[in-house]
């Protein structure tokens, strides 16, 4: 195969690309709902704990694997776990790509709502947000148009390789942070009109007895893993473009902490705005997946102070930030698939357009099928929700495959040392050599983890 290797130009590019991959609608859309449904500040404790004991360690492992193998998920499992296990890499790639099928539709919704905010379609007298939502979801042409736009923008961003991905992520993530800060300050000022910051207080007040509720822990784990993209293969893919002197542990910590910081900002924005306006804010926050973002928030933002300017800024700022978050996650999802094609000898341009076409076509059922009305007359895409459910299960296996790879490497290392007479047999020997085998060889090696 002809061609040249590709890499990020520096640490900034790597960090922005990985943060862009991690930060998605899960941070801005799902996190505030999770906080609301799981006791406010109580939820933050297990969520933060799982960042350090689950998400960051998984991302460190992915970085270490991708940086050493220098291939996408299929090649990484083939090299790290053995030839018989290449399918695990295919599984990881497939699950992420399958999530991309319907995620492009969801990202399209975000773009549509940005357009509505820009053109005043969500503000003014007589705007019924349920009607706006229902009419949009039940108009296949519009949903497909925005889905197509998302796929096209994604392909344009990744078609030129690592340096283009890096540049796009730097621009989009910087803009996203600026927009979120703007909307957060506006939301806090809305909430402070009555002299209290109820939303912020709710978000940071801990009810210690709530920590005995196992559901809070399960939701915190799923939110942390989903939000940081831990175990999805994304970090393996971007590690392929790491420069030699990048430190995997440091970068994983920066990514994880930035990801959680954005979640906190988004949580403050959404909860403060809702607590400022709604009579029963918790009922609004927990009122269904789409409800809070596309039904409640436009109503809330429409009541922002500052005449016409305030609601306009909040609406467009929030939905543009949401669109950017969704786009950067789409970029990493598509790149994960493309990298595997390129690793197997296909031209990058062919791989990009083939993957894009597949994501668009296989996403069409999520855009079109089973658009139903719930008991309150709000439209919801049942096929899309089933997809979300199925591939969410699959994602758990991807994380387990990475854990298995780490265990297997340590086990084989220990066995080889026992045969060479360099390590003890039995449990004590395994605990001495096998458990830390992967870490000793690939993480914190003192030479920037080459």
């Amino acid at each position: 195969m002809s061609g040249q290797s590709d890499e990020f130009s520096g640490r900034l590019g790597l960090i922005f690309a990985t943060i862009g991959a991690a930060i998605g609608t899960g941070n801005i859309w799902r996190f505030p709902r999770m906080v609301g449904a799981n006791g406010g500040g109580t939820f933050l404790i297990p969520w933060l704990l799982f960042l350090f004991v689950w998400s960051i360690p998984l991302v460190i492992a992915e970085f270490a694997m991708g940086k050493r193998s220098r291939t996408g998920t299929i090649g990484t499992f083939r090299i790290f776990t053995g030839k018989r296990f290449a399918w695990m890499g295919l599984w990881t790639a497939w699950i992420s790509t399958a999530i991309g099928f319907y995620y492009a539709v969801v990202a399209g919704w975000c773009l549509k709502y940005f357009q509505l905010g820009l053109t005043g379609g969500l503000t003014g007298d007589g705007v019924d947000t349920v009607q706006v939502w229902n009419e949009f979801l039940q108009a296949p042409g519009q949903v497909i148009f925005y889905q197509f736009l998302v796929v096209l923008l994604t392909l344009l961003a990744i078609s030129r390789g690592a340096k283009a991905i890096e540049k796009v992520n730097v621009v989009l993530m910087s803009s996203l942070m600026a927009l979120l800060f703007l909307t957060m300050f506006m939301a806090l000022s809305m909430d402070f009109r009555d002299g209290t910051l109820d939303g912020a207080l709710f978000m940071f007040t801990v009810d210690w007895s709530g920590l005995f509720n196992p559901e809070i822990w399960i939701n915190a784990l799923s939110q942390s893993a989903w939000s940081a993209s831990a175990g999805m293969g994304m970090a393996i893919t971007y590690a392929v473009y790491m420069r030699k002197d990048e430190d995997t542990t440091l970068n994983a910590f920066v990514m994880g902490l930035a990801n959680n910081s954005i979640s906190i900002i988004a949580g403050l924005t959404v909860l403060s705005a809702i607590f400022a306006v709604e009579a029963d804010p918790l009922a609004t926050v927990t009122g269904g997946s789409s409800a809070i973002t596309f039904l409640a928030l436009p109503e809330v933002f429409a009541q922002a102070p500052g005449g016409n300017i305030g609601p306009f800024l909040m609406m467009t700022g929030f939905f543009l930030a949401l669109s950017f978050a969704a786009l950067t996650s789409m970029i990493s999802t598509v790149e994960l698939c493309v990298r595997n094609f390129v690793d197997h000898g296909y031209e990058r341009s062919q791989s990009v357009w083939f993957t894009g076409a597949a994501i668009f076509l296989f996403g069409l059922p999520s855009a079109l099928l089973w658009i139903k009305l719930d008991g309150e007359g709000v439209a919801y895409p049942e096929f899309l929700e089933v997809q979300d459910h199925i591939w969410g299960y699959g994602l758990m296996f991807s994380g387990l495959f990475i854990a298995y790879t780490i265990w297997r490497y340590g086990f084989l290392k220990w066995k080889a040392q026992v045969e060479a007479g360099e390590a003890e047999s039995g449990l004590a020997g395994y605990l001495n050599v096998g458990v830390s085998g992967f870490r000793d060889d690939f993480i914190n090696t003192g030479d920037n983890d080459v």
Binding site: M1, G3, G75, I79, F80, W91, D343
Partner: protein, 82 residues
Amino acid sequence: MIANTEDVWNPLNPHGLGIILAFWGVVAALFLWFNRFLVTRPVYRNVPEGAQVDISMLPGGADPLVVQVGDEAPDLAHVNQG
């Protein structure tokens, strides 16, 4: 079974667990079967200049079909000679 089961992905349904296990069983079997095709193709590693490191100690690191971008895989070289 799927058509007659309400909320098919709920493992607590009468057929829920069977449906979930059957679905993932078929998916897993397909991936395992596909492995034989995956490993016959060469893999080209994206190794930037100066970042070459040894991978031979890894379980699949000695695979002759794992090469670097710009190199030719052994079987392709053989075809070219022919």
